[in-house]
């Protein structure tokens, strides 16, 4: 197929490209001044708590180097937890601790970490190694999600999460991101996780994408990824839709996890959500976004109404 026909076909399908996303949506709907709200997960979390949106509980924040010395003391009450940089991007610098063995900490991939290694990691976080632009950062210690057994067979270690693209408060497309061996337990498509498209009106999964290829089965476990019903899908959608009011950003990616006990929790927001979600759903974003553009011209709706609208509009 010649590049020109490929180009035309993509246009017909309404696939959103990087340039289109940046110019038409990020530049126009995401005012830069609101970026710190999503780039700093501590800000996002406190905003979410105020708005009654469920988030993983924050155990502690480490801001200074001298706190690192007392890290073991701070961690003592918790058997499992997650350490992440407050301003990290793309899942970089996140460590998930499942438990202990002696004085060492056991990571989600089974590797043991000596307390000194953990301290070094926290120091690196503080010095800005994982933050955008290398600014000094804070380390967050928070509740480790015990993910819903639904995903047990189709994830390789790590925590699968659900990404919902929310445009002006309307959830327009979503997918589950399943960690793989290649992504070393991270739910990031760049790093090799599998993305599985979800029917936005029913919450049922269909085929997935791995490294820009369409897949039907998980690459490591071999179990089929399609045909699963996400529990509490309506609730999940309404949390996502509500995140619009949190920040004032018009085009965001909402990352959620399904906790076995606590239901859907909002993890973080992303002001520059990726485009691979289109491959996972085998659908272009552009027609859906255009529909929302028309809708907001005539309607002013609350989160619940917005969810109802998209469930109807994107039923097929």
């Amino acid at each position: 197929m010649s590049p020109i026909t490929t180009y035309r076909k993509m246009k017909e399908m309404g696939i959103l490209g990087m340039n289109g996303r940046n110019a038409e949506f990020i530049a126009q709907y995401n005012p830069r001044k609101f970026y710190p709200l999503v780039d700093n997960k501590l800000h996002t979390k406190s905003l979410a708590i105020k708005a009654n949106i469920a988030v993983p509980e924050l155990y502690a924040v480490i801001e200074m180097e001298h706190q690192v010395v007392k890290l073991e003391q701070i961690l003592a009450p918790y058997s499992s937890f997650v350490i992440k940089p407050a301003q990290g991007s793309g899942g970089d610098g996140i460590i998930v601790i499942m438990g202990r063995r002696g004085e060492s900490y056991k990571r989600s991939d089974g590797v043991l970490m000596h307390p000194d290694e953990l301290k070094h990691h926290v120091s690196n976080i503080l010095s800005g190694m994982y933050s955008l632009g290398g600014h000094p950062d804070k380390a967050m210690i928070e509740y480790r999600v015990e993910f819903d057994p639904l995903f047990r067979e189709i994830s390789y270690q790590g925590v699968p999460d659900i990404r919902v693209i929310v445009f002006q408060g309307y959830p327009v497309m979503s997918m589950v991101r399943l960690p793989t061996r290649m992504s070393s337990g991270k739910a990031n498509l760049h790093q090799g996780a599998v993305g599985v498209g979800i029917n936005i009106s029913t919450g049922r999964t269909h085929s997935g994408v791995w490294q820009n290829h369409v897949v039907e089965h998980h690459t490591d476990t071999g179990y089929p990824v399609s045909g699963l019903d996400i529990p509490g899908w309506e609730r999940l959608l309404s949390i996502s839709a509500g995140c619009y009011e949190l920040t004032g950003l018009g085009y965001i990616g909402v990352d959620l996890v399904l906790d076995g006990n606590k239901g859907p929790l909002m993890l973080e927001l992303n002001a520059r959500p990726g485009l691979a979600i289109q491959i996972a759903n085998r659908t272009g974003l552009a027609p859906r976004l255009d529909l929302i553009k028309q809708r907001v011209l005539t309607h002013k709706e609350d989160a619940a109404a917005r969810v109802l609208f998209v469930q109807e509009a994107f039923a097929s």
Partner: protein, 523 residues
């Protein structure tokens, strides 16, 4: 939509202003478009010698080259100890008058020096259409000879030019009795030219032929370098008609047209080239030297002579070392434009946005292939060191400092070794900006750890590739010349950047990325 219109207006204005300035400089100031243009510049010197009486006044009137077609005068100077000099324009000519009240010694030497730059397209100021006004009446046998030659010429000619060529042809004919009578057996160019003007003007207005003509003096500026060698003055006969203006005939062979690079020293023969009051033994010697100059320097000189405001406020008037810096700096936007193209049309991944431009700047010191080899070598060695330091669990800033220092040591070692082995390029690495290397190593290692080795290498190759392309364009001699001489082209570059900013279509890499999606949708 109004922002779109605003943008297009802005782009339009930028392009118009840029192009206007560009064309003004090319067409009016004649700044050269390409750097290789060598212009021939002749330094012409006239030396005037005479004997003065000590303590008495002296005055020398000496013609100097007038403004004329094909020659731009870049610079002229008079070297004349104790003499006062004035220049009087005299019809088409320029007459320099050198005066002194009390000549201090007997031998006097005056110099006139000027630089001329040949330009085929230059027309010069308009010339007057008045020829010689002097009429000469021949008597007796000469009168008959005159009438015969005139009548013969008239029969064989269609216009004043052919008339004049016929006259000169018959004067040159040594077998012909009439010409020998008129010329008195003196067949020198000067005599033939002088006789021809008398014949063409005629004894009086009624009798005719009343052809407007004048003698021109000058000499041919040849391609060979005549260093301080005396140049003989050549004489041509100018014929004027309303249709063609002045045309010239060689009095020795009646050939029409001045030789190439003929510098006219004086129009018309009413006054000698040098006339003297209060002196004896007047003498003048012409000489010239030809030099090849950078066309840019010539144009620059000339534009400055014309007092162009644009040139006064140009980069050319900065000190030389500052000019050199700008010659490099002015190419950075071009590099940025290329990175912009590579990123938003092709979709190449690079470390940072403008890191490749900086790497490209670093290549200037090493040339491309050597630069890529050195860059790869130092970055990979630096990466090894960094991974080793990583094991020691150091904090970010101490580790970065250690990597930086290691890069310096690596570069020194490379230089010393390559010097021992006799490689030239190893030495130039010393000027390779270290900070760029260190930052590249740090960024690459983070991508290496956080994404994977493949992504890090991919971005490294992408950066090198982008830098190589940026380098090739930025170090292109023509590009450098164009943007340094015409910095207003940067306005057009900005316009291009703004237009590219409007591009919302797919990147080439996305055609590959979403290829699967289209295939699946076909069935």
């Amino acid at each position: 939509m109004s922002t779109k219109r605003h943008l297009f207006m802005l782009v339009g204005i930028l392009v118009l202003v840029g192009l206007w300035l560009f064309f003004y400089k090319v067409e009016i100031l004649k700044l050269p478009l390409s750097p290789s243009g060598q212009s021939s510049v002749w330094t012409v010197e006239a030396q005037v010698n005479f004997d003065a009486t000590i303590g008495r006044s002296a005055k020398a009137e000496f013609f100097i080259p007038p403004d004329q077609p094909y020659f731009h005068r870049l610079d002229e100077s008079f070297v004349s100890r104790d003499f006062g000099v004035t220049i009087d324009p005299e019809r088409d000519n320029r007459l320099s008058v050198w005066t002194i009240r009390h000549a201090p010694n007997k031998k006097q030497t005056l110099y006139y020096r000027a630089q001329f730059y040949f330009d085929e397209a230059y027309q010069g100021p308009p010339l007057s259409n008045r020829g010689t006004s002097e009429r000469f009446v021949y008597r007796d046998a000469q009168r008959i000879a005159q009438q015969t030659i005139i009548n013969n010429a008239r029969e064989q000619s269609v216009d004043s030019l052919t008339f004049a060529t016929n006259v000169i042809k018959s004067l040159n004919d040594t077998q012909e009795g009439n010409s020998s009578i008129l010329l008195d057996r003196d067949y020198s160019a000067e005599n033939i030219a002088l006789t021809a003007t008398r014949l063409l003007k005629g004894p009086n207005a009624e009798e005719g032929p009343n052809i407007v003509n004048r003698i021109v003096y000058g000499f041919e500026l040849t391609q060979t370098q005549h260093s301080e060698q005396e140049v003989p003055v050549q004489i041509y006969l100018g014929i004027w008609d309303a249709e063609h203006g002045w045309r010239y005939i060689d009095p020795m062979n009646a050939r029409v047209g001045l030789p190439n690079h003929f510098l006219i020293w004086q129009y018309g023969g009413s006054k000698p080239i040098l006339s003297l009051e209060g002196g004896r033994n007047p003498q003048y010697i012409f000489s010239f030297i030809k030099r090849e100059f950078n066309a840019l320097n010539v144009a620059k000189e000339e534009a400055l002579q014309n007092h162009s405001l644009l040139m006064k406020f140009s980069l050319f008037n900065l000190p030389l070392h500052t000019q050199e810096v700008y010659q490099v700096l002015i190419m950075i936007p071009i590099g940025a434009l290329i990175i912009l193209l590579l990123r938003s049309f092709i979709g190449i991944h690079t470390f940072g946005t403008f890191m490749p431009v900086l790497i490209a700047l670093a290549f200037r010191k090493t040339e491309l292939v050597d630069g890529i080899i050195l860059f790869t070598l130092i970055v990979s060695l630096g990466l090894c060191v960094r991974f080793y330091l990583e094991k020691l669990k150091l904090l970010l800033i101490p580790r970065l400092s250690a990597v930086l220092s290691t890069v310096v040591i690596l570069m020194m070692t490379l230089s010393v070794f390559s010097n021992q082995l006799g490689f030239e390029t190893g030495l130039s690495v010393a000027l390779f900006p270290m900070v760029i290397l260190t930052m590249t190593i740090e960024r690459m290692s983070i991508v290496w750890e956080e994404r994977n080795a493949w992504e890090a290498i991919l971005q490294g190759i992408g950066s090198l590739f982008a830098a190589a392309i940026a380098f090739v364009v930025m170090s292109n001699v023509y590009m450098e010349h164009l943007f340094f001489v015409f910095p207003e082209l940067l306005l057009i570059v900005i316009a291009a950047m703004l237009l590219l900013g409007c591009y919302q279509g797919y990147r080439l890499s996305e055609l590959v990325r979403f290829r699967e999606l289209i295939k699946k949708n076909e069935y």
